[in-house]
Symmetry: C2
Subunit: 255 residues, 2 copies
Amino acid sequence: MPPPIEDEWPAVCLVRPQMGENIGAVARVMLNFGLTSLRLVAPRDRWPNPKAEVVAVGADHVLKQAKVEWKLEDALADATLVLAATARPRGMEKPVWGPREAAEKIRSAINAGERPVVMFGPEAHGMESDEIAKADAILTLPVNPGFASLNLANAVAVFAYANAEARDGPAAPAWFRDTVNPPATQAELEAMFTHLEEELERGRFFHPLDKAPLMKRNLRALFLRARLTDQETRTMRGIIKALTIGRGGRKIDDV
Amino acid sequence: MPPPIEDEWPAVCLVRPQMGENIGAVARVMLNFGLTSLRLVAPRDRWPNPKAEVVAVGADHVLKQAKVEWKLEDALADATLVLAATARPRGMEKPVWGPREAAEKIRSAINAGERPVVMFGPEAHGMESDEIAKADAILTLPVNPGFASLNLANAVAVFAYANAEARDGPAAPAWFRDTVNPPATQAELEAMFTHLEEELERGRFFHPLDKAPLMKRNLRALFLRARLTDQETRTMRGIIKALTIGRGGRKIDDV
């Protein structure tokens, strides 16, 4: 298993967050996707907040390292690229990016040594216009226009996922592949097909005989489509043996 | 604003969910991304569950329409494509898809008239191997190997987002664009540049004179890069007027 991912950038900035539980849930999902820099601007309740700690589960260090500021300007002081996550159009002329596009811009910025920060507004009302005005671009999620209000941690989850995908590539994580068996080689498959076809011939499976080549091709297609592993070819050969053991020279029509 | 999105497929199937709050949070984020078909297999607590209703906020109808079954087989009976969301490798030889790839496969299946269902396991332990075995493919999220355990609703959020993006395309939602002003036309931009350049010439901005064409090109590039709207070109012209009003025939070197 590869080492844990703990990226400093992008930072996530919660603007006037209300419920401690939501702050904890944000910390947890940030770390789920390898993000660790949390900034809080004027949290409603006292900080540190025990309710946040309960929900953060194993992401306590994200909470402990969180920078708390009373002014948004201070929380953004070192940022070179600021995104505001908001579903609501405000008539501001800024670039509007979906999660994937935002994640790609953020990747490029980080690669160029920049320090991107993504702002998320408070639970009930979202950010104020003057807060959004500080952003270089809007991050908007493709939500249902009939039911657009996202839970705070769910919104951060979608962004953090998109960021992880832009960072690591869209494929399934490599550590998953390491645990599955390697695919079968052509030689292993060929040996399995030969074994199977021989036993099927002994059982007069292929009739009429002039259809045998076609039947064999279809049979091969079926197993090739399944993309067997080496282990599975061995399993298949065990199955063929188990099915034919003791059959001796009997043909199907002897039964 | 376009009509609400309420898609029947894919269905989301929660296998042995524990906390009512999590079921409600799943219903909410499903509807946030336009999904409405929820299936529950052997929920731990009684159903209907008031705690789920509190958290679902405006997604009550997703909860009310939820199908509750005691056996997973019954919940999957009508499905033609089953995905199991799990981060844990189990040595099973199934296709492993990330959210984006899973969403694309699901789109293709729906377009072909299929009925895809995505299973998510219980909060504490995930699904059992015999439950995962019913799936055609594994949905795996690109999580931090050092902190992989996702909150249930956050996992559904990431999938539902990927599904929405595959459905609607990766662009920012169209209803966002409708509310911003249209981009400026070439004629509007040209009139603005002419106005600006005339006033700058009056102020002897362009010197030495042989550099004027280059300076004008650079100035245009700056404003073109900002991709002004029609309203902004009017604003700019107002700014030019405001800055030059009363200046009369004075030149910079008259000051």
